[in-house]
């Protein structure tokens, strides 16, 4: 008995600890809840990528390059925590198509967002001015024109870029390098350029961001330039890809937009919180009034359920949408269902003349099959809905499925621990009243 009580106290302490962690992670901002665009406000754009001109095997590469390019562009725009991802869709509408999904939190001017994305990636070559400091790579440069002058050669002249491993005697053996091949016109321009600008820094820009800044060491007559910059193989591969598709971008076409104003989202969050709060209070009240002592236990189990799910929201992390909040509130009502099945069964066992402790144990054991079955049917729905998978429905399905699984755990183990820890043995009198129901049928 002492062990059971210690165990119950331990569960309570862990719950309180986790609740404190969840709270401080949200308030302190170390790991706040992740809100979807419909709650935080922002714009989602979906594009169809026209990959007809690209050979089948290169489509994946082209899409990755497109994603990186758009990501850079979005970062340049100063959007915080943008999400850019590619997706293959359309199979159910008759034709498979490559899609690009861009989420811009905080951007509530749809037109502005479209204009930002809508340009095609630009590859540029520039020369560093003589007196300018050597810049860092990978960052947008506000004073770009002060530091660099345009070179005669442009992205139009690039035929291809390739990853190679250095075999020439000059460099480090087997160092990954990127080889640029220019077309015939480009080769001529590049030969002149390199002849006239030895020892200057040659800047390669994608969408205004310096991606590489090699030093011109010699005149290059064959239309090939080698960029060697202490690359890891992966970096060199990405650069080659960016150069290939920066020069030959994938055309994209807007097919879907969704914009929600921040004020509307903030109100939805407030309303959701209120609904959740009153929902919990009302459910707990109902449980206590109807089931008395076990009802109080169920309310504690419900509280631990809420803490556990909120912690999971932060840990996984789950992007919360209005539909997700609805699922969470719905799951609060369903979480106590297991307790109801258990307590009703316990009442039957009590009526059969068992002690409170035995009735509790049997109640838990015998209610299990029907708890399992009810959760199976809900899980079926959750899994299929997740597959249905628009972001809206996915948000609902994920939270719903998570809720069903976690509530099964808390409703059974937590309330069992608490009830047994109380250790009420009497067959008659006060503890029987405590286990009674609010109404006789």
């Amino acid at each position: 008995m002492l062990q059971r009580r210690l165990w119950a106290i331990f569960v309570l302490l862990v719950g309180a600890g986790v609740a404190w962690l969840v709270y401080s992670a949200e308030v302190g901002g170390t790991r706040p809840f992740r809100l979807g665009l419909d709650l935080s406000g922002g714009t989602q754009l979906v594009y169809r990528a026209d990959t007809n001109a690209i050979r089948g095997g290169d489509v994946g590469d082209a899409m990755n390059s497109l994603r990186d390019t758009i990501e850079r562009r979005v970062n340049l725009f100063g959007v915080s925590e943008p999400i850019v991802q590619t997706e293959r869709g359309g199979a159910l509408a008759g034709a498979v198509e490559e899609r690009l999904i861009v989420e811009l939190p905080g951007v509530t001017d749809t037109q502005k967002a479209i204009e930002l994305i809508g340009q095609t990636p630009v590859l540029e070559f520039r020369l560093l001015k003589a007196d300018a400091p050597i810049p860092g790579e990978g960052e947008p440069m506000p004073d770009l024109n002060d530091m660099f002058e345009p070179a005669a050669i442009t992205g139009e002249h690039l035929a291809s870029a390739q990853l190679q491993f250095n075999q020439s005697p000059g460099g480090i053996p087997n160092e990954p390098v990127v080889v640029l091949k220019f077309n015939s016109e480009g080769a001529q321009i590049f030969a002149d350029l390199t002849k006239n600008n030895i020892d200057r820094i040659f800047g390669i820009f994608l969408d205004g961001v310096l991606i590489s800044s090699p030093v011109i060491r010699e005149s290059i007559p064959n239309g090939e330039a080698v960029i060697s910059g202490n690359f890891a193989a992966q970096e060199a591969k990405e650069l080659a890809r960016n150069l290939n598709f920066g020069a030959l971008p994938v055309p994209i076409e807007l097919i879907s937009t969704q914009t929600v104003a921040g004020t509307l989202g903030a109100k939805a969050v407030r309303d959701g919180l209120m609904a959740g709060l009153w929902g919990v209070i009302a459910v707990a009240l109902f449980m206590v009034l109807w089931y008395r002592l076990p009802g109080i236990i169920a309310s504690f189990a419900l509280l631990l359920y809420i803490i556990a799910v909120l912690a999971l929201f932060q840990l996984i992390p789950v992007t919360l949408t209005a539909a997700g909040i609805a699922a969470f509130i719905l799951s609060i009502g369903m979480a106590v269902d297991a307790n109801i099945l258990i307590f009703e069964r316990t009442r039957e066992e009590l009526a059969g003349g068992k002690t409170a402790s035995d009735a509790t144990k049997d109640g838990f054991a015998r209610a299990w099959p029907s708890i399992r079955d009810s959760n199976i049917s809900s899980m079926i729905t959750a899994v299929i809905l997740f597959w249905l998978g628009t972001s809206l429905v996915k948000g609902f399905a994920l939270v719903f499925g998570l809720g069903v699984l976690v509530s099964m755990l808390t409703a059974i183990t937590v309330s069992r621990t608490f009830l047994l820890a109380l250790g009420l043995e009497a067959k008659i009198g006060f503890s029987r009243f405590l286990f009674g129901s609010g109404m006789r049928s």
Binding site: A93, A95, S256, Q258, G279, A326, M334, S377, V393, F396
Partner: protein, 302 residues
């Protein structure tokens, strides 16, 4: 048990509800939202008071919008539903809705769905519906795999399915009426609501049927003779409270969500409310009484 005894009264009530729902569906029809057809949905807020519908209509017409609909929302909002916009229309949408600055309005929500995505979502929704029904069918078959007398196990499954059909028809009919009176359109959230109802309400029916079978087994083991109607009625009485209570807690939270919750999930929670009430009703007042009637029918034929 009065529900089993007076089952014909409840069959009549159930029949009336189903007929009303079907009538609502066929009279009002269901309108597919932009999720499934593709198109534009914009909500615009006029903090200084909204213009008349005529003013806005003129402005929209001159911007080349056709076949759109306007609906007042909240105190100062309009909801515009239109076909997919051209780039020019989209770029000038804020000005068009502000009637060139005369009635300044802010677009607080804009949703555009391309035709392919609409088609894809519609097909996905249909497949999801079919999949859920199929899986629940398998689930029912699994739950009733042990054969029992006097009603064969597939009959339990069939009746559970009939109850399930009832649980879908009622919220669908309700939603059709909602579409007629407040302009609710069939979207992915509606499909989600229906599928959630399916998953939730099948279980209540299974709980009652499980108890019927358990009582039949106990009777058999103790060589006790009891009329099937009495056994079924007794089982219903034993599980009645838990059926109602498990639904009440869900209804409480849905009610909180409906009254206090976000605007965007209001119709959704209302649909769930109706569906779950229908599900609880059918498992108590339709499924078990139907089981008794089926048993009677076979008993007479024997």
């Amino acid at each position: 048990m009065y529900i089993v005894k007076h089952r014909n009264i409840f069959f009549a009530i159930t029949g009336a509800i189903v007929l009303a729902s079907l009538a609502s569906l066929f009279v009002f029809g269901m309108k597919a939202g932009i999720d499934f057809t593709g198109g534009t949905l914009a909500q615009v807020n006029y903090s200084a008071g909204r213009p008349t519908a005529e003013t806005l209509t003129q402005s929209l017409n001159s911007a080349g919008f056709t076949g759109y609909s306007l609906r007042e929302a909240g105190a100062n909002d309009y909801i515009l539903r239109a076909q997919n916009m051209t780039d020019v229309q989209r770029a000038s949408l804020p000005e068009t809705l502000s009637v060139n600055g005369e009635n300044p309005g802010t677009v607080i929500q804009l949703n555009e769905i391309g035709p392919t995505i609409g088609l894809e979502l519609r097909n996905k929704a249909l497949i999801a519906l079919a999949l859920v029904l199929l899986c629940i069918l398998f689930f029912i078959a699994f739950a009733f795999r042990k054969v029992s007398q006097p009603v064969s196990s597939w009959m339990y499954g069939l009746i559970a399915l009939i109850a399930l059909i009832h649980d879908v028809i009622v919220p669908v009919g309700f939603y059709a009426a909602l579409g007629h009176f407040v302009g609710a359109q069939v979207d992915t959230l509606f499909v989600t609501a229906v599928l959630t109802v399916l998953g939730f309400s099948v279980h209540d029916t299974i709980v009652v049927f499980d108890r019927v079978r358990e009582n039949l087994r106990v009777n058999h083991d103790h060589n006790r003779k009891e009329d099937f109607a009495d056994t079924a009625g007794r089982s219903l009485g034993q599980t009645f409270v838990r059926s109602v209570n498990t639904s009440i807690t869900v209804l409480i939270t849905l009610l909180a969500l409906y009254i206090l919750g976000p605007e965007s999930t209001r119709v959704f929670s209302l649909t769930l409310l109706v569906g779950i009430i229908a599900g609880t009703y059918s498992s108590i007042f339709l499924a078990t009484p139907l089981l008794v009637s089926v048993e009677r029918y076979f008993a007479k034929r024997r």
